[in-house]
């Protein structure tokens, strides 16, 4: 049976079974010392990369390299944090930026580490898979000549014929679990060793190596599916006001990002309308308890359907999932200019700033009649307003029991015509002037639903018509999701099998006795396991007990816990402490 071992793997399980000559392949001085050549160097580099030590190093590097992503703000998750960091650290910031510390997980060095790690993994796993596939079809290794050097031991003498003993041992090992009949535990061979000596050689636990390989290959599959998903995905955010609709087209999204291989034309044109939004809060702590968005979904060629979206319960539509990510109030206001024309009418989303939904927003009123100034109304919406002190209002409840709009007024040029994209939640005050009263104090408007107030400086009037809700929806489409899940679960199953399925070899030899035992049969047995296996000795005892039912107590020579991975091939019974550096 051929074996493959990555450089540096310490594995007595295969080493013991092999003739010692095979173990001398690693690191010995080569007899032919001429130039290595390019191919030689490449082979050397590959062997280094696939060695256990380098894999270990890369794993630790990966762990260390992942840490800065939590210490520095990341562009992908927290762009304002990055901007703030750059302002606060004018000297170190740009350097950190250049070195990729604000995008650690897509940086060159992070990618290099995990790609090298995966290259190392593939280089190690593929040959092992080949060997394992051959091994799975193979037979258990022949009974070694000396059984005394294995971690689990057993023996007895009996009056039965050697051949019967070996056959019985083989039958015992072959017998499956009581709860899973028809599946043999051990693969067993019975050998006639000559001179009347018979032996049974059994091996079980191919699942252990299978699980190990499945785990590693599934990790590769996971990486590939995640990367494929990255290329084919799209993700968009849209703010939908109560009573309004939303169509799944790129123009309808507030933000939209897509993978390099995604075709925007393939977006399924379903529409979604927010009918109602329910929220529930704890009456005492005011913490949120439940959010439900009732929507009408119309998929192309289908009847409109009533659906709900909740946190943790996304809606599936058109191959995408629709998540409820946020909510708030969008005051419905109408602004008439000085000429009495409607300059603005609509619901303006105000973004909640705290847990009582003190919401900030901007109403931008363009000039519709000639000669009018543009108006910007900046301020807060308080869902339940309370005057804490004269002129000082705050919200006391996230529910809209007594809503109040508190606005200051700016006039001038909103900058809408500059061609520069604007943030709809911020007012560019550079070309505007704030309205003040006769004393020079800032004018503040307080408006309740249904009320109409005059704007200062004769700018017109403002009517607060109503208070619909809005929801922030997040749409994501990732065709690789099922693959990601399947590979993750495969990796999990493989890992569990590779750690918990015992890999054991058991040998039972029955030889005609000599000397005092002349005329009887001397039975010796040994067991070897991969890794630490406390069940090895009990299992050997069980096999012996079942093989020799009339024997009361098989004499156990070494009642110790089985262990093998660390043991020296030639002296597994030595008492060298495990931690001794070698």
């Amino acid at each position: 049976m051929s074996t493959y071992r990555p450089e540096g793997l310490d594995d007595a399980f295969t080493q013991v079974a092999e003739p010692p000559a095979a173990a001398g392949t690693d690191g010995g001085p080569d007899v032919r010392l001429p130039a290595l050549g390019a191919v030689g160097w490449l082979r050397w580099a590959w062997r280094q990369l696939t060695s256990m030590r380098v894999a270990l190093l890369l794993l630790m590097l990966l762990a260390v390299a992942a840490v800065p992503g939590t210490l520095f703000p990341q562009r992908a998750q927290d762009p304002p944090g990055v901007a703030q960091y750059l302002i606060d650290h004018p000297t170190t910031g740009p350097w950190l930026d250049r070195l990729g510390f604000f995008g650690v997980y897509s940086s060159v060095w992070f990618s290099a580490i995990y790609l090298l790690l995966f290259a190392s993994l593939v280089g190690c796993i593929l040959p092992r898979t080949k060997v394992h596939l051959a091994g799975v079809r193979g037979r258990p290794p022949r009974t070694p000549r000396r059984l005394g050097r294995f971690p689990a031991q057993g023996g007895a003498t009996t009056d039965d014929a050697p051949r019967d003993v070996a056959e019985r041992a083989a039958a015992t090992m072959r017998r499956g679990w009581s709860w899973l009949p028809f599946v043999p535990t051990y693969r067993v061979d019975v050998h006639d060793e000559g001179g009347g000596t018979w032996s049974a050689a059994g091996e079980r636990g191919y699942l252990r190596e299978t699980g190990n390989l499945v785990f590693h290959l599934a990790l590769v599959g996971l990486l590939v599916s995640v990367a494929t998903g990255q290329m084919l995905h799209y993700r968009g955010q849209a703010l939908v006001v109560q009573g309004r609709g939303f169509a799944n087209a790129q123009v309808d999204y507030d933000t939209f990002e897509q993978g390099s291989a995604f075709d925007p034309a393939s977006l399924e044109p379903f529409t979604l309308r927010l009918d109602e939004f329910e929220s529930r809060f704890d009456p005492e702590t005011l913490q949120s308890r439940d959010f439900t968005a009732h929507v009408t979904l119309t998929e192309p060629g289908d009847e409109p359907q009533q659906r709900t979206i909740k946190v943790n319960h996304p809606l599936s539509a058109g191959g995408a999932k629709v998540y409820l990510q946020g909510n708030g109030y969008a005051p419905q206001v109408t602004v008439h200019d000085a000429a009495g024309e409607v300059a603005f009418a609509g619901a303006v989303p105000f973004l909640p700033q705290d847990e009582v939904y003190t919401s900030r927003g901007v109403v931008k009123v363009p000039d519709v009649s000639g000669g009018q100034a543009q108006v910007g109304l900046v301020g807060y919406l308080l869902p339940t307003a309370l005057e804490a002190a004269p002129g000082l209002w705050r919200s006391t409840d996230p529910q809209p029991t007594d809503p109040l709009l508190v606005l200051s007024v700016w006039s001038g040029n909103l900058g809408l015509d500059t061609g520069v994209p604007q943030n709809v939640y911020e007012l560019d005050e550079s070309r505007m002037e704030q309205s003040v009263d006769a004393d020079g104090d800032v004018v503040t408007l307080y408006v309740r639903p249904g009320e109409t107030v005059d704007l200062p400086d004769g700018l017109g009037t403002l009517t607060f018509d109503g208070l619909p809700r809005f929801v922030a929806l997040d749409l994501r489409h990732d065709p690789a999701l099922p693959f990601v899940l399947v590979f993750a679960l495969l990796a999990f199953a493989g890992l569990a099998a590779s750690l918990f399925a015992p890999r054991r070899r058991v040998w039972v030899r029955a030889a005609p006795g000599t000397g005092a035992d002349a005329g009887r049969t001397v039975v010796t047995a040994a067991g070897l396991a991969r890794g630490d296996d406390i069940g090895l000795q009990p299992e050997l005892d069980r096999v012996l007990a079942a093989t020799l039912p009339d024997q009361d107590t098989p004499d156990r020579t070494t009642p110790r816990t089985a262990r093998s991975t660390d043991a020296e091939a030639d002296a597994p019974t030595s008492t060298v402490p495990r931690g001794t550096p070698r």
């Binding site: 270990l56 840490v67 939590t70 909740k310 993750a488």
Partner: protein, 337 residues
Amino acid sequence: MTTGDLSTLLVWAAATAFTIALVAYAVDLSRVADAAQRRAAAKTAVPATVPAGAGGGAAPAPEPPADVPARSARAEGIARSTTYLGIVLLLAGIVLRGVAAGRWPTANMYEFTIVGVFVAVVVLAVVQRRRVIVFVGVLVMGIAVLALVLALNAFYIQADAVQPALHSYWLVIHVGVAIIATGIFTVAFAASVLQILADVRETGPKPVDAPRAWTDGMRRAVVGPRFAWVDQVPDARELEALAFRLNALAFVLWTFTLIGGAIWAEHAWGRYWGWDPKEVGTFVAWVVYAAYLHARTTRGWSGRRAAYFVFVGYAVVLANFTVVNLFIDGKHSYSGL
């Protein structure tokens, strides 16, 4: 008294029971250390007296070395019974906490800690069932008492319902499995600490690798008579096997925590992986423990060196729970604590 108050009271009672268990284990450990020290002293004293006695008849043995009881049965009995009592009290406290909140009690740091302590102590009780390894008892009980008191004093918040993002059966599965894994990692860590001590004593006073002054001093201290009790614990190899079995189990559970968390994140946050600080911490711990599993089978890295990976891994697990929750903003920051 409300159900929530009763739960808190029960947790305090459990902390008290565990403190008694800790003291009992410590007394037992001191007995073990004492006996071991006396035995070591006797061993060195005997050769010195033999030449003198050779001239003037049989000299009396300085100490009866062999028949000193190595451990205190009474202390072990007390430790065991108070451990069981504490487990029952803590379980009752956890159940009542869940009743008071009207949900599964794994939603904040306080609940995570008390359930984690519960798991760690149950694992300890299982490990100690056959053979009492006193030092592991002292270390795990020490961590348990510390964690419980810290939870009661620093992490405590009123039992209450949770925000919409936590309304999911994954709160039971994902967080529950994470807690179980953390508890098992704790006991495995204790076994690894003991393994290193035993290993250093077995290796002897000679600095074999890295002959640096401070490690040398530490090594000499461990080899000295103060740590003679280490000779009473199972040998380094057995402890390593114990630590490995626990770590392997916890690692599989940790893997499930990662996968379950990703599935939940896909439902709740609209992405299965987003490098949230908690996700990164869990990932780093996973990678470190994976490195540990690889180190065990790498020539020259098994044994003591592999145990260092356990130290790093456990430190990451703890930091991922405390530092990431308390000082770093992320999507896992619920309820402030």
